[in-house]
């Protein structure tokens, strides 16, 4: 990487970005902070309430349960999507007319509006008239995602795997495509097995793109709202109520602005903390 020259006038280049993003980020963020430390009994009347809402939120079993479900969901989909994505990328053709066909077909789920993804899986998995639900039940397995929490979880996870594994595939594939043929030839001469090639050539080369994949998948799965909301509405019961769904219920449904704002900030800080860890790891790799 070329060395960069020091130039303070570069600020003029980034100024428009800073202004636009600040308008969108700082004003709403301050609104949220403002709500989070006040108590309202009627329209327009506010009292200072300090960190009460934060303590309440952290101690509430409802928040802890939603956070638990959220962590579980993110953990499960990362554990499935990352290895599966790598495996598919490894078996894809490296060149030829099928490459663009594969890539276009695989990218398709990424461009479908999120509520359509939810609606699509809702129809697809219906036990009486959906292709998936009907087939599974015909095989003798009792499956109804509208009634059974386990089925609902499996459906939500299958939907996310369907929706986002391609992102991992495309990233891993890009990493693999950058490995020169000479590496493989050298490995062949050394008599390296399939596993050794993967462990010592392919995996290190995919390191950087995989970090991006994990970072993006972590952030987006942690913020997931529309797809599970359309698919299950957070149910049955509260079994698939993730953090965002719970938050929107609180803020727009129950209009509990103080607690909702405190919850927003805690939620945002958790996302920020984990993402910062990934980001530091990533930049360290780039420098090292």
């Amino acid at each position: 990487m070329a060395t960069k020259t020091h130039n303070e006038r570069a600020w003029w280049f980034v100024l428009p970005v800073v202004l636009l993003v600040a308008f969108n980020a700082l004003v709403p963020l301050m609104t949220v902070v403002n709500y989070s430390v006040q108590e309202s009994f009627s329209q327009g009347v506010w009292f200072w309430s300090g960190v009460d809402w934060f303590e309440d939120t952290l101690n509430s079993s409802r928040f802890q349960a939603a956070l638990g479900r959220q962590l579980m969901f993110t953990g499960v989909i990362l554990a499935i999507e990352i290895p599966l994505g790598i495996a598919i990328a490894l078996t894809m053709p490296k060149s030829g007319p099928w490459v663009p066909v594969c890539l276009v077909l695989m990218a398709l789920p990424l461009l479908i509006p999120w509520n359509v993804v939810g609606a699509m899986w809702n129809i697809f998995a219906l036990p009486d008239i959906g292709l998936l639900g009907y087939t599974v039940n015909a095989l003798g397995i009792d499956y109804d995602y509208t009634q059974q929490p386990i089925s609902a979880w499996i459906t939500v996870i299958a939907m996310d795997v369907w929706h986002w594994t391609s992102l991992v595939v495309l990233l891993a594939y890009a990493g693999l495509a950058s490995i020169p043929d000479a590496y493989y030839q050298a490995a062949k001469i050394d008599g390296a097995g399939r596993w050794a090639v993967f462990r010592h050539i392919e995996l290190p080369k995919m390191n950087r793109v995989l970090t991006i994949a994990i970072l993006l998948r972590f952030m987006d799965s942690f913020m997931i709202y529309t797809e599970p909301f359309v698919l299950t509405g957070g149910g049955p019961g509260n079994s698939t109520t993730f953090l965002s769904i719970d938050l929107v219920k609180k803020a727009l449904g129950e209009f509990d602005l103080g607690p909702a704002a405190a919850m927003s900030l805690i939620y945002f800080l958790i996302t920020l903390l984990v993402s910062w860890l990934f980001y530091t790891l990533m930049t360290r790799q780039e420098e090292g």
Partner: protein, 264 residues
């Protein structure tokens, strides 16, 4: 084991729900609710006819396309110079600024929905295309800067220096030499802006009521208010896939590199 088996099975898995949506869109409501049929028994175009003949339906598509396009143009216009600055210069606070930009990509839209509604109402932009386009800048600008910075860092600095020696001004260098060399990067950034603006619904729905209502929101409303019209819902869903498929086709040759954000 055959090498093509795994990708083929995976693509088959991806296509199944899409096939089901497509099949459903050609069925009559009676057939859908009447029981399980693998393909349409009475093939009908009725569901599509409803959408193409009703302005509230087809304007939903135009509304979505309008704010997505405005958003893509704004995001790229401001992200290009910023990405150039990040890839070429060191300046006070550059690393912190870059991370701050990325934090906005990490902000859950659910957190911002209500404050956004208040902010855009107070500046009189509620229910306009520009409001949604600006709101989507929150996550699209950081992403565009990130992608473009990756592509620009891959261009050797000698290109800039040679151009200045040849007597180009900065403007002439940037527009006539630099931008053409990173066309693929710009295409990829535009693709991502389009994609994330097109698929996002929570903010778009919160910020609009009638005039700028996105198709995705019309789908949920209409389908639930007029009974359980699954066929209509499926047809509308199928039509939302079309613009995305169109855009992927244009960037198909850069797509792999693009998803790696130029950082392979």
């Amino acid at each position: 084991m055959q090498r093509w088996l795994v990708p083929t099975l995976y693509i088959l898995f991806l296509m199944l729900p899409i096939y089901w949506l497509l099949a459903m869109s050609f069925k009559t409501t009676n057939e859908i609710l009447g029981g399980f049929t693998l393909w349409p028994q009475e093939f009908t175009l009725e569901n599509y006819a409803v959408i193409f003949n009703d302005p509230t339906w087809y304007w939903g598509y135009f509304n979505s396309l309008i704010y997505v396009s405005i958003n893509t143009v704004i995001s790229l216009a401001v992200a290009l110079p910023a990405a150039y600055a990040f890839s070429r210069f060191r300046f006070t606070g550059d690393k912190h600024l870059f991370f701050w930009l990325l934090t906005n990509r990490m902000a859950p839209p659910a957190v911002f929905a209500l404050p956004f509604l208040q902010l855009y109402s107070s500046v009189g932009l509620f229910d306009t295309h520009i409001a949604v386009a600006l709101a989507h800048c929150l996550f699209n600008i950081p992403l565009a800067v990130w992608i473009l910075e990756g592509f620009m860092s891959g261009v050797p600095k000698e290109l800039d220096e040679t151009a200045y020696v040849d007597g180009h001004s900065f403007g002439s260098f940037f527009f006539r030499i630099f931008m053409p060399t990173i066309t693929s990067g710009i295409g990829v950034a535009a693709f991502f802006c389009f994609m994330f603006s097109w698929v996002e619904l929570l903010l778009a729905k919160t910020l609009t009521a009638v005039e700028a209502k996105p198709i995705a929101a019309i789908m949920t409303k209409t389908a639930s208010s007029s009974g359980y019209e699954l066929g209509l819902l499926a047809a509308a869903g199928c039509l939302t896939i079309v613009p995305g498929a169109f855009v992927i086709y244009f960037v198909r040759n850069y797509i792999a590199k693009g998803f790696a954000l130029g950082r392979v």
